[in-house]
Amino acid sequence: MKDNTNILTIMTWVILLSLASILLNDIREFDFNQFKEFQSWAKFADKNESWFTSKNAIQWSYYVISAGLFIWRGYLIYGFSYFLSILKEIENGDYFSNNNIKYFKKIGNIFIWYTISVLVLRFLLASIGKSSFNFFNELKAEFTFLIPAGLAFYILAEIFKQAKKTQEENDLTI
């Protein structure tokens, strides 16, 4: 079991580092200079023009939402890091611990909130006008598998809760 745990830990680290490096590369490629343009616009903008309808404000919103997508991707990577905590508990022999139940719930939460938030942000991006948004196409996108995966983790947390109760009962049967 320890060997399997070690292999799984190594695989999780590889996935985590790959995801983190892809995210960092995407952030590096993202043009943050756009925010500087907004700063200069803020200095010279026509104060009579409505803020919400001005072109620069819309453009700035687009970049803020794009940056928001990075934050959510970081949050997803943080969610993946809980796998390491679960593997650590398993390595220590605490299969049905309270911590594992908590971690499974957290992973479920993060997966579901990531998918919902990315869907909302993509919808906002489309409404700003820089991309197209089709709800059913978005649902078909590969990242939405995280919703059933998140639900599966909730179910796992419930199973582990019951298993913990059964184990406790078994331990107290003399």
Partner: protein, 68 residues
């Protein structure tokens, strides 16, 4: 719990130590302590049989029902 375990009394009557009983019936002293303190959730028939055999008593001598 309304089930009382009278092992301490029977042990005292038989002048037997907990450690000795644990060795005879083949359970750890920690588990015997759980049983004596009433923290146990269940008792296996095999354990009950071994206790009765070792202490020469009936299950009713060890277990008692007291209404809450």
């Amino acid at each position: 719990m309304p089930i009382i375990v009278n092992l301490d009394r029977i042990l005292a009557e038989r002048k037997m130590k907990s450690k000795e009983l644990a060795e005879i019936i083949g359970i750890t002293t920690a588990n015997l302590s759980i049983l004596k303190s009433g923290k146990a959730k269940a008792v296996r028939f095999s354990t009950l049989e071994a206790i009765c055999k070792a202490l020469d008593c009936q299950p009713a001598d060890i277990l008692e029902y007291v209404e809450d």
